[in-house]
């Protein structure tokens, strides 16, 4: 199969799954089999693209030109490859987990749930493999709209309000800020393609560069940079598999991915570093990291604490992008991978605790390590990775960003990373401590969640550790990404 076919397949497979699922609405086993087969097939297709990209190839696929300037085209570069790999790989784990969760919870309208999930994955693939800003924007909105029914899935008043906030903030920011940014870029650069070294160097003033960066960063509300983060904690009303894959991986990563991609391929980090008008982003990201961590500290509801932790961790990636140096870009890309596997483990654990022992709040978690040993072991691994303790994947990204900040003497960023690490420790370690050291009321009985829920979270926890030991693939991709900062040959 040619790489172009593979790109097409990566988009078609989840779409076909979404179309097929309603046909098997009455036969849950067949329906779930379709999702699983689709997820495995998608991952296989993405894996087949990997060697091409690692060998330095940039597979492309031009689909259609809507109007001059608006072209639907795909191009696989290292960062998109990494994101596609993570999202498609974790979809397998998440599908297994969803089956366990949704059946244990006896959730209603499960077919709609799986259909929207598959469309969301198609949207994620589109974002990851997009070859220009319009294609990225198109799939970004597909992702927003397809996840709205998932956020409101419970149908309660709370879910409906969360849905409103979700749609208004994500759609609003992207329409009010991101769309004019696209228009501006098109008028100024006469292209929306992603090119190594960027397309905006020398075509707009330095002030305009700073302003545009603002439009892109805040227009991408999925990245949850403060003050556009409110939708994320609210979206926790969704079923846990949604929080796990979408609101810890696909949706939010699509946000930081966009910011990172735009910094590298639209602005060009050299252009931004020389202009100096984008430096404010370091402070915005830094403040988000620290403030979100501080808020997380005060949450008793486990999923809410995790959500604020996500807000904070996402801004590490933004911080990495904002330092405008190749080393920091490596760190940012690595952190996308590390945070994905760690945070999905944490959310899987939270859902497993809910199903196994009906625990939602941290104050109820005394001694839970004895009741759900597998879950809590995985949770601990995820928590350590969030803090950035070796031997977990979370250490790597942070380390590179820290080194980059030290190298250019950005002491504010260094301070932020140090403080935030302490804050992370102080809101994750007490949970682990409670779970293992304190004893709860009554006899300790083993009450793990069903195996389809436990297996995925153990696997993702294992990957979190393995990524530390063998960070080869993400590191090489990140390295290749950081090398494309210089203006490459035309085309």
């Amino acid at each position: 199969m040619t790489p172009a076919t593979l790109i097409l397949l990566a988009l078609v497979i989840p779409t076909v799954v979404a179309v097929l699922l309603p046909l098997f609405a009455g036969r849950p086993n067949v329906r779930e089999a379709v999702t699983l087969i689709g997820a495995v097939a998608l991952f296989a297709v993405v894996l087949m693209l990997l060697p091409v990209v690692l060998a330095g190839g940039r597979p492309e696929l031009d689909v259609w030109t809507v109007v001059p300037g608006l072209k639907i085209a795909f191009s696989v570069e290292p960062l998109g490859m990494l994101f596609a790999l993570i999202a498609s790989g974790l979809w397998i784990a998440n599908s297994v987990y969803s089956i366990g969760y949704m059946r244990a919870e006896k959730a209603h309208r499960q077919t709609l749930f799986y259909v929207c999930f598959a469309i969301a994955l198609a949207g994620t693939m589109g974002v990851a493999l997009a070859g220009n800003l319009f294609t990225l924007f198109l799939f970004y909105e597909v992702l927003t709209i397809s996840t709205y029914p998932l956020v409101t899935h419970r149908g309660t008043e709370e879910a409906r309000n969360a849905g409103r906030l979700y749609l208004l903030m994500l759609l609003g920011a992207s329409t009010i800020l991101l769309l004019p940014a696209l228009g501006w870029t098109w008028v100024a650069a006469e292209t929306l393609d992603f090119r190594p070294g960027g397309i905006l160097g020398g075509v707009v003033s330095n002030t305009a560069l700073g302003l545009m960066l603002g439009l892109y960063v805040f227009g991408t509300a999925k990245a949850a940079v403060m003050p556009l983060h409110f939708w994320l904690p609210a979206a926790m009303v969704a079923p846990t598999p949604v929080s796990a894959l979408l609101h810890a991986v696909a949706v939010v990563k699509a946000g930081v991915f966009t910011i990172l991609k735009v910094t590298v391929y639209t602005f060009g980090i050299e252009t931004l570093a020389e202009a100096g008008t984008g430096d404010w982003l370091v402070y915005v990201a830094g403040i988000t990291i620290v403030v979100a961590s501080a808020i997380a500290l005060r949450q008793d509801n486990l999923k809410r604490r995790l959500a604020y932790s996500t807000v904070s961790q996402l801004s590490y990636v933004v911080l990495g992008a904002a330092l405008f140096t190749p080393l920091a870009i490596v760190g940012a890309a690595m952190h996308i991978a590390a945070h994905a596997v760690s945070k999905i483990t944490l959310f899987f654990s939270a859902g497993s605790l809910h199903t196994g022992t009906h625990v939602d709040n941290i104050s109820e978690m005394d001694g839970i390590g004895g009741k759900q040993p597998w879950t809590m072991a995985a949770f601990t691994v995820g928590a350590l990775s969030m803090i950035g303790v070796p031997p977990t994947a979370g250490f790597l990204g942070k380390w590179f960003i820290l080194m980059a900040a030290v190298a250019i003497g950005q002491w504010f960023a260094v301070g932020v990373i140090v403080i935030s690490t302490m804050l992370n420790a102080s809101y994750f370690l007490p949970i682990v401590y409670r779970a293992y050291r304190r004893t709860g009321e009554g006899r300790v009985t083993l009450s793990e969640a069903p195996w389809p829920m436990v297996l995925p979270l153990v696997v993702t926890a294992a990957i979190t550790v393995l990524l530390f030991a063998w960070p080869d693939v993400p590191y090489r991709l990140a390295e290749m990404l950081s090398q494309s900062v210089a203006v490459g040959p035309p085309g």
Partner: protein, 492 residues
């Protein structure tokens, strides 16, 4: 045969109207409507092909020279409008049978179709004619028949709405004809092309300025430019569903075409926009329409009224594009003219199907209808997404052109206002969405089901079109851009 296509474009529906009136029975009258509605887009498509191949078509009615007789003149601008109007009519025709039977008393159904076809003939006539007074005649033909169409609504408020429209419409038409009269005294011709040639010599005279004012205000009444829109919400809300679909998709659009024709081809963009402060006035009114009408839409309790106010707002986007008087801006305005016609036809048709099943169309009466009519409501939701301007839909293409046009002329604030206003659309569409999907079906809604296929298929076709034309824009944006270039060049 093919050289008489311009005449047939108008004559076919006119003859159909007479036949429908003569047969007097609902079934045959509907059949005639279907045949006519399917014939007109074929004629329009053939005209468009001829125009693309061989340039402007000039057809002399009765063989009289344009200086004394009536000329039908088809260029890419009105070929596009003809195709739009007739295609919408073709999609409506199959849908109409059951909807009209359920909403209009049996003995008036044939009259309804007769009026409908006269209205269609009038609108096509306005679009095709190259004669200022002939345009007035067709304007009256289409208006008088649409007053009758609206008055046939089941609700007694339809009578008041029709009366209100009649008063406003007549004022508009009178203003228009006063303007045309003044132009005739100054140029000695009624042919649009000849006026354009001669008006340069007299353009700064007071009668021409007054004529411009009368014509612009007169047509603005018909196209429902804020604040001359007050007739529209009631007319759309209380007319029979089929009439609403037809008028919403075509009537205001043809008026906008006439507006563009006069402003760009006849008076000339240089005179209107550079010498006079028309851009400023139009931009202010358009923005007021977009924000004002969209805000009012949010607070409506009748769903049809809500989308009627939305139409007033959407017309604002079109006039905004025209007022910029650049290729990109004009393309944006014209492409939105086409896209909005499809979007609103899909939405009002979906609401018509709901009315057919439930018999009411207030928010509280149709709560939860999405659970009972999922296909219909999904189609409406898709059209609504296009209305919002989500990328991948036709609405996005329009919005993109408008934003780029605003940025090109350096009006950042205008680009910002355009995107801000689409949030208002999100709010009223979201309110509709929550009502039909999240609330539990009760009363009539609980017993409702999908409409018959002959209604469902046209709805789905239109909804699919709003997505299709968001991807393949050759026929919409491509034509709109050619039309924009043609308009900016003047008529000859």
């Amino acid at each position: 045969m093919s050289e008489h296509l311009p005449a047939l474009q108008v004559v076919v529906p006119l003859l159909g109207a007479v036949l429908a009136a003569l047969v007097r029975r609902p079934g045959p009258a509907w059949l005639i409507t279907v045949v006519v509605s399917f014939a007109t887009p074929v004629i329009a498509a053939m005209l468009l092909v001829q125009v693309l191949d061989g340039g402007v078509i000039s057809y002399h009615l009765g063989g009289w020279d344009p200086s004394v007789g009536i000329e039908y003149r088809v260029d890419v601008v009105n070929a596009l409008v003809l195709l739009l109007v007739s295609s919408v009519a073709a999609v409506i025709a199959p849908f109409a049978r059951l909807s009209v039977l359920s909403e209009v008393p049996d003995d008036r159904v044939a009259w309804f179709y007769s009026m409908y076809l006269i209205s269609l003939a009038g609108l096509l006539g306005i679009a095709i004619t190259g004669d200022a007074f002939n345009a007035f005649v067709f304007l009256e033909v289409s208006s008088l028949s649409s007053y009758a169409l609206i008055a046939m609504g089941r609700d007694r408020r339809a009578l008041v709405a029709a009366y209100q429209y009649l008063i406003m419409g007549t004022i508009g038409a009178s203003f228009y004809v006063i303007g045309v009269g003044l132009i005739y005294t100054m140029t000695g011709t009624l042919n649009l092309g000849l006026i354009a040639e001669r008006i340069g010599d007299v353009e700064s005279t007071r009668p021409v300025l007054v004529a411009l004012a009368f014509i612009v205000v007169g047509i603005s009444l018909k196209l429902a430019l804020f604040p001359l829109h007050v007739w529209l919400p009631n007319a759309y809300a209380y007319a029979p569903s089929v009439a609403t679909v037809f008028l919403a998709a075509t009537a205001t659009k043809v008026a906008i075409y006439l507006f563009a024709r006069f402003v760009f081809s006849v008076f000339g963009a240089g005179f209107v926009f550079a010498d006079l402060p028309v851009t400023e006035i139009l931009v202010v009114l358009s923005v007021a329409a977009i924000f004002g009408a969209s805000t009012v839409a949010i607070f409506q309790s009748d769903v049809k009224r809500m989308f009627a106010y939305s139409s007033v707002g959407q017309v604002g986007y079109i006039t905004l594009g025209l007022s910029l008087a650049t290729v990109t801006g004009l393309t944006g305005g014209l492409v939105h003219l086409v896209n909005h016609a499809m979007i609103k036809a899909a939405i009002f048709m979906g609401l018509g199907a709901v009315f057919y099943r439930v018999g009411k169309i207030e928010f509280d009466d149709i709560a939860g209808v999405g659970r009972r009519m999922p296909i219909t409501m999904s189609a409406v939701v898709i059209a609504c997404l296009s209305l919002v301007g989500v990328p991948g839909t036709a609405g996005f293409v329009s919005k993109w052109y408008l934003i780029v046009a605003a940025i090109e002329v350096g009006w950042w604030w205008l680009g910002l206002l355009i995107v801000l206003s689409s949030m208002l659309t999100v709010i009223y569409v979201g309110r509709f969405f929550e009502c039909v999907w999240f609330r539990e079906p009760a009363g009539e809604v609980a017993r409702a089901g999908e409409p018959p296929l002959e209604m469902l298929v046209p709805i789905c076709i239109l909804a699919a079109a709003t997505v299709y034309f968001g991807i393949d824009t050759e026929l919409t944006a491509g034509m709109a851009e050619r039309a924009a270039v043609a308009l900016l060049q003047g008529v000859r």
